[in-house]
Symmetry: D2
Subunit: 115 residues, 4 copies
């Protein structure tokens, strides 16, 4: 699998299948999933905790560190995909809608190089 | 756009384009993006804060609430996609790899209905 | 030490002393400390992640679990005290001021048993 | 009130009194309080989100910004005090115990200026 060939629906199906094979939907209330996303986001952030901004840029070249980061990011995304499954949210729709809304708020001319 | 027809790469491109049109890459260090993901995850969680588990299930039927939730989830995902862009992480790969690893750890037979 | 006899200043001094004996102020920028508080808060939350509301109440009687929770709460507080040290914030002042502000916003008569 | 004259017990009493006057204990399960701490921690972190490390240091001199930060830190502490009330945790004990444990782990000689 890779990002060029994988749709959001493919990834949501993978996550749903994992959950259903274990009959875990009963534990995965939307409230609990929102906590899971926040917990995993904090673990991801922990990887950057004591780095300078520059050191955090250079992680791109550190394959071992990058593998760990990829796993933490995956955890965030797995729970986010699961919440989208649970609430029947179409991710492509909400993401593109939010970007359109942000594009109105942060006009290119006004916000170029500043925020 | 919808999840059936949109690839991860499509969505990553949208997010990258938004950033580059504003020349914001300079602010979006991986460290700052990890903070953004955590901040948005907390805002998403705030929507569920005082709900009982049952009330959180019923959000599915509350269209107005659902629209707000969709926006908060979009914010988490936008920053997660941006971090993946920034660190050249292939999302489909890390998510499917992590699910495979979890499937080893949480065998279906052993973990069905429990965790 | 116990809460009846320990002032906020006593606890702030303990935390400052720990940091200074290791010459760690250089790493403990306010920005990094705010990340630490959020990371430790997520670890604390993780202890409650899959509990029902009722199970979370009953933790009070589970001494072993309670010891773990106490440590996680301590981590949150250590970094919060450290941020107060770093920014010269008087905790008793900001907490009592915020409670007074909240008392205006949430009048007792209006908000009794609801929110 | 100020940190030199205020005990942890004084502050815990203030927070408990605020809750009980509104009969809010029913909503403040330990699980919900742990979410509140994490949510407020993220709001505090948001104040530092886009600052360089150096800019975050200089907040000390910006009285207006500092007032906002003080309020956000107060929110974290109010919920942390409330969780301690709810679970009968003695804060001075768990904080001093954790510092003692950390002092064993991070020996002064070994960790001076590094971590």
């Amino acid at each position: 699998m890779n990002d060029a060939d994988t749709t959001l629906a493919d990834l949501k199906d993978l996550v749903r299948d994992f959950r259903d094979r274990r009959d875990w939907e009963q534990f995965h209330t939307p409230k609990n999933l929102s906590m899971s996303i926040a917990i995993e986001a904090a673990e991801l952030m922990e990887e950057f905790q004591w780095l300078t901004p520059e050191e955090s840029q250079r992680l791109r070249e550190d394959e071992e560190k990058l593998a760990g980061l990829g796993e933490e990011l995956a955890d965030v995304l797995i729970y986010a995909l699961s919440l989208a499954n649970s609430l029947d949210i179409d991710i492509a729709t909400v993401v593109s809608d939010k970007l359109a809304k942000n594009a109105e708020k942060y006009k290119e001319d006004e916000y170029r190089g500043r925020f």
